[in-house]
């Protein structure tokens, strides 16, 4: 067997694992790896402008392609800058492998230049992490890292490699990779539990399917099975933010998103249901609202691949541990085996029809200002036939996009759900565009969020990525302002976006096309121009400044206590509610 340097082993192993794209930024502690990459053009290295963006781009790539995202950054600041994206990937269960350079093993602990305790810092924001102390361990560790990142509940894995380990040599052949045995998550659901679930479904009078990001993670097949299961059950379907697209929004059974900014019909259905079937979701606080008032009269089935998600916030009657796609397949087989026929749930659907009649997503119309909801709706009308990939930043625009942009397929909606990271959307769009060069990729952004990773305009220019950014510019950190209006008597402390750049000129300086839309009458033409313009385009869409995102379940309230319109807002909140996130 030939001896190779650690850096060479790393690159060769990445190739063996099928990696073709790496998002990164060079630096002192990864120079040997970058030198090895120089000889391997098969691995496309995307040079970002900030390490945080490398992680979000890898997330966008992973979320839209289903393949793990790979990041390469240097030690110290390179690694610490990546921490936000790593945490984001942990919260949203995104498969990602982050390779960080480290100072040489003999310097570790000496406060060396660009030294940081990367393994210590990332221990609790990764699914697992490693410090590799000898080049002979590298291939095995990397193989296990990819296995852990992608199997079970996906997540980020950090591999920290000291510089001398990159330079030192060890024996290596492509075929000596270890067989992983120590991490083997449960895939199939327990057969007895599946039968019990079937029993509960057959006895339900008012069931609802509550789906989440787990279905997307399970792969496109899981979405197909979900449609089959929903059709057989005849039950309404709602989804978390992360699960949007797993079930087609055009279906009659679709209730829209649930939770804090979910639809009235979805939240009321959850509240009044007698059976909640939770598929790959985790009863997050944005979903449940006040815990003791969450779906009080239902039996609950929870399908999750991660046992620690079960009974974490909401007690369930029947947990099923396994891959949600596989479990739904098993459930479908049992229901068919028992000759289950689709009930009409006449009374249940009649009640849902009543809730739908509130038309909770309606918004005031205006001839003088562009309503942000209207802008999203028009964007959907103009693009949905091309099945675009939509990314978002975080805030009001994100929720409006979730409410007003309808998704028909999985892997088309990329958003930072769990961590709520402003600055996610642009790099994620870059990652998604690299994963699918022909797709129409649009980052729906706010003027505040977009500035958090605005430097990535340069990355898109460099790689000729025709990413579109659609900024809903209301000159406020809109969601912060909305909460201040609702909770703190409109005391708008530091939520105004002062000293904004001229986004058009900024875009143009990076070689992008900039389009300004100010007048409602120009909205459709502006969107059309954005789509028809080749190359990257930034749209600065000036929208109504003080629009609020409704419906909304205020902090500490129950699903039945939704605010549907501005007139429901009181402007104050008690301390218990204020203390909630």
């Amino acid at each position: 067997m030939a001896e190779k340097s650690g850096a060479e082993i790393l690159v060769q192993t990445l190739l063996d694992l099928g990696v073709d794209t790496v998002f990164g930024y060079p630096g002192g502690a990864v120079l040997p790896i970058y030198d090895a990459l120089y000889d391997h053009p098969k691995i496309k290295h995307i040079l970002v402008r900030h390490e945080q963006a490398a992680t979000h781009a890898a997330e966008g790539y992973a979320r839209s392609t289903g393949k793990p995202g790979v990041v390469l950054v240097t030690s110290g600041p390179g690694a610490t800058n990546a921490v936000t994206g790593i945490t984001d990937a942990l919260m949203d269960s995104i498969p990602m492998v982050v390779i960080t350079g480290q100072v040489a093993t003999n310097l570790i602990g000496s406060d060396a230049f660009q030294e940081a305790d990367t393994v210590g810092i990332t221990r609790h924001c990764t699914k697992h992490n490693y410090l590799v102390k000898t080049p002979s361990d590298l291939a095995g560790v990397l193989t296990e890292a990819f296995h852990i990142a992608t199997q079970g509940r996906p997540g980020p894995v950090v591999v920290d490699i000291p510089k001398n380990v990159q330079v030192a040599e060890a024996e290596f052949s492509s075929h000596n990779n270890l067989k992983n045995t120590r991490y083997q998550p449960q895939i199939d659901g327990d057969f007895k539990a599946i039968n019990e679930a079937a029993e509960m479904i057959m006895n339900a009078n008012a069931p609802v399917l509550y789906t989440g990001g787990g279905i997307i993670n399970s792969g496109p097949k899981a979405s197909t099975i979900l449609c089959e299961l929903a059709a057989l059950m005849g039950a309404p379907v709602t989804s978390t933010l992360m699960g949007l697209g797993a079930f087609p929004a055009s279906s009659k059974q679709w209730l829209g998103m649930l939770g804090m900014h979910g639809t009235y019909e979805a939240n009321m259905a959850m509240n009044r249901a007698d059976l909640v079937v939770c598929l790959g979701a985790r009863f997050d606080d944005r979903i449940t609202g006040r815990i003791d008032a969450f779906s009080p009269n239902s039996q609950k089935i929870h399908v999750d691949i991660d046992r620690s998600s079960v009974n974490k916030t909401i007690r369930v009657d029947l947990p099923i541990i396994g891959d949600v796609g596989r479990v739904m397949e098993q459930l479908l087989a049992v229901l068919k085996g028992r000759k289950f026929t689709t009930p009409d749930y006449e009374e249940w659907w009649a009640r849902i029809k009543g809730w739908r009649a509130t038309n909770c997503l309606a918004y005031p119309e205006s001839k003088t200002e562009i309503m942000p909801q209207e802008a999203i709706r028009k964007l959907w009308e103009a693009t949905h036939e091309q099945s675009p990939i939509i990314t978002t930043e975080v805030g009001q625009h994100q929720m409006w996009a979730a409410q007003h942009f309808d998704f028909e397929k999985p892997n088309k909606w990329l958003t930072s759900g769990g961590l709520g990271t402003m600055g996610y959307g642009l790099p994620a769009a870059i990652g998604a565009q690299l994963g699918d060069p022909d797709a129409l990729v649009i980052d729906i952004a706010g003027e505040a969020s977009i500035q958090m990773n605005i430097q990535e305009l340069g990355t898109a220019s460099q790689y000729r990525l025709p990413v579109k950014i659609f900024i809903l510019n209301n000159e406020y950190m809109g969601m912060v302002r909305q909460w201040q209006e609702l909770t703190y008597e409109s005391r708008y402390s530091n939520s105004y976006s002062d000293s904004l750049p001229d986004f058009i000129k900024l875009a143009e300086s990076y070689g992008w096309t900039g389009i300004l839309i100010e007048d409602p009458a120009d909205l459709e033409a502006g969107i059309k121009k954005m789509i028809e313009t080749d190359g990257p385009v930034l749209v600065d869409c000036r929208v109504a400044k003080l629009a609020n995102c409704f419906p909304m379940i205020p902090s500490g309230a129950a699903h039945t206590e939704m605010l549907l319109a501005p007139e429901d807002v009181k402007g104050t909140m008690d301390d218990n509610a204020k203390a909630l996130v």
């Binding site: 221990r123 699914k127 079960v310 203390a579």
Partner: protein, 171 residues
């Protein structure tokens, strides 16, 4: 507004883990990160090839938190198994303490007499001090240390609890 506290119960967990660098930080850090309590934690490798360590954790929390602690431990990659010994039934808990007592006269005699009653062994002696070694369940050690306070306790070191289920089967 006031912050509410919940009723807690004490549980002893036996955790088998890969004996690798950082495993203790991973486990202890997970407890801190998620706001769980550690009453005591002991760790030593237990396999012939030094590949596996057994960590015994005494923790406390409301039942739903204990359930989460177990699930959170179980999903760490280097963790092989987690057993809640308190839940599993009858088990033996033992702890070792080294207790240094200094003094002369009656206190010295009383210390020796109490040590005898509690089956503590003398592992070091001078004309004005003893070091006792005592093993037993944590409450026995607690009581013994309390008594020693009255007769000249100067220092105490405790190992923290190790535990194992009763009967022929492995946990």
């Amino acid at each position: 507004m006031h912050i509410k506290e919940e009723q807690v119960e004490r549980h002893v967990l036996a955790v088998l883990v890969d004996n690798e660098a950082g495993i203790l930080a991973r486990i202890a850090g997970m407890f801190t990160a998620r706001g769980y309590n550690i009453e005591s934690l002991t760790v030593a490798d237990i396999s012939a090839d030094h590949a596996i360590s057994r960590i015994t954790i005494a923790t406390n929390g409301p039942p739903h938190v204990i359930e989460q602690i177990i699930a959170q431990l179980d999903r760490l990659v280097p963790v092989h198994s987690v057993r809640d010994l308190t839940e599993a039934g009858p088990h033996v808990q033992r702890e070792l303490a080294l207790v240094k007592v200094a003094g002369k006269g009656d206190n010295r005699i009383e210390a020796m007499r109490l040590a005898d009653v509690y089956r503590a062994r003398v592992v070091d002696a001078t004309t004005e001090s003893f070091v006792f070694e005592i093993t037993g369940a944590p409450d026995k050690i607690q009581t013994f240390v309390g008594l020693m306070r009255e007769v000249g306790l100067v220092e105490v070191g405790r190992t923290g609890v190790v535990a194992i289920g009763r009967g022929p089967d492995a946990a």
